[in-house]
Symmetry: C2
Subunit: 272 residues, 2 copies
């Protein structure tokens, strides 16, 4: 089994290119409030979405190594681009459960058997990896899939310009081809996008269902921990420790926005 | 002197966080066509504009080391954020001329004695360093300076969405406070911004003079090389060698856009 040496009281390890993955942490804190969480954001090298698959795989391995060295019981890749390019490699490299955001999102998107036309918005790296398109097509034949690179959304979310008229124009440009093709489901395949849900609801036909990486990943993680009998049995509220490879006031403020609560002390991480 | 060991036929070394600094290279190729150029873009860790001063200084030293190890005769910091945070450190660390973009821009902005109100647009990192504000205030007392962080411009330029209506809305939001304050000069203090000049000309009053980092830095570099008697005396056209810390089709296409001509072979750089 090999599983026994992972003590259930050990923290869950999360990593992302920056602080966007904290939307996943927030969803996990809601579902699994007594788990301890160790979060690593690679803010020194963010974003991953525009970089090469080789670079992303190297970064993801260094990020995961940091978490494993600190004794986490499982790894959550809280970044769509890193999941898209590095998940198989991470599963080969580390002898503990590695959960990505893609499988969870795809499962959730296809839970409704009536789904026929799925739209995906994500970073360029995620879309070009074809990871979502493959996963969807494998699970349901005959599905119509429309993938849309949306590289300007992360900068708008990070600037907190979500309600700026320019953000609406950018979103309309990205969404128009998807709406024209009559999608019934839109996958928000970047951990920054949950913050866009109110604007997306306003711009999209009411019938379009939104599937976001954060909540679907949290639900998937819970199912996996139950299945593997790895839930933390402590009664108290779990702690959250945040490590960033580059620290700045900017990143700390952004972390608080993604987490929607005080984040506690944030530490600088040095990767091996 | 120590200068004699730098052979005039050695290449000029340029570095930037990415490929934006190629606007400076292009301007230098126009002014100094027979110089060889070695360019390093730290695409694996871009952008620098949102990162901490400590991270930027560390990155800049590694970038400069790469160039020095390859025998360049001078270093051009073709990045405003890196100039703002790391120029003094680089000058201390390396025994060869190190040229930044700020001094050159400030000199050019103040060449006209009638200048009274200067606006600056740049990345958050450059503006918060106060490097431009300090340099301007030191050179001319009584000058009125308005600095505007413009973090969304780089993403729009990189996406080639310069003519998208959203880009115009973003620019108007950034420019409005500067125009209201009656600036007579606008410093484009990011090496990506020369590509925005046509849109800026359309949005700004005709009387506002634009000062861009690329041409002013090239002129400054030429003056410095003449002063130090370091011009390359070869007759033929100089070569250009581009090294990027992360290679992708995306970055190669972007490099061609900034350079406005074929870039030749682009190599992957591994920093020490």
């Amino acid at each position: 089994m090999g599983r026994l040496r992972f003590v259930n009281s050990a923290p869950l390890g999360f990593f992302d290119s920056g602080v966007g993955g904290l939307t996943v942490v927030r969803a996990v804190q809601d579902l699994l409030p007594n788990e301890d969480i160790l979060y690593l954001g690679d803010t020194a090298r963010l974003p991953y979405g525009s970089k090469s698959p080789e670079a992303i795989r190297r970064f993801a391995q260094e990020d995961a190594r940091f978490l494993v060295d600190r004794g986490v019981k499982a790894i959550v890749v809280a970044c769509n681009t890193a999941t898209a390019h590095a998940l198989p490699l991470l599963r080969e490299s580390f002898d503990l459960p590695v959960i990505g955001v893609i499988e969870a999102g795809v499962e959730s998107a296809l839970r409704d058997p009536a789904v026929e036309r799925v739209g995906i918005i994500a970073t360029r790296g995620t879309i070009r990896s074809h990871a979502y398109q493959h996963a969807l097509a494998l699970k349901r034949t005959g599905l119509i899939i429309h993938a849309q690179e949306a590289p300007l959304l992360v900068p708008f979310v990070e600037e907190d310009w979500i309600d700026h008229p320019a953000a609406e124009l950018v979103l309309k440009t990205y969404l128009e081809p998807l709406v024209e093709k009559g999608i019934d489901t839109l996958m928000l395949s970047c951990t920054h996008y949950p913050l866009l849900i109110p604007v997306l609801r306003r711009l999209l036909p009411e019938s379009v269902r939104l599937v976001d990486s954060a909540t679907t990943c949290a639900e998937h993680l819970k199912r996996e921990l139950v299945r593997l009998d790895m839930l933390n049995s402590q009664k108290g509220e779990g702690g959250l420790e945040i490590h960033l490879t580059d620290l700045s006031e900017e990143f700390e403020n952004l972390a608080r926005r993604f987490l929607r609560k005080p984040s506690g002390r944030i530490q600088r991480a040095v990767l091996a």
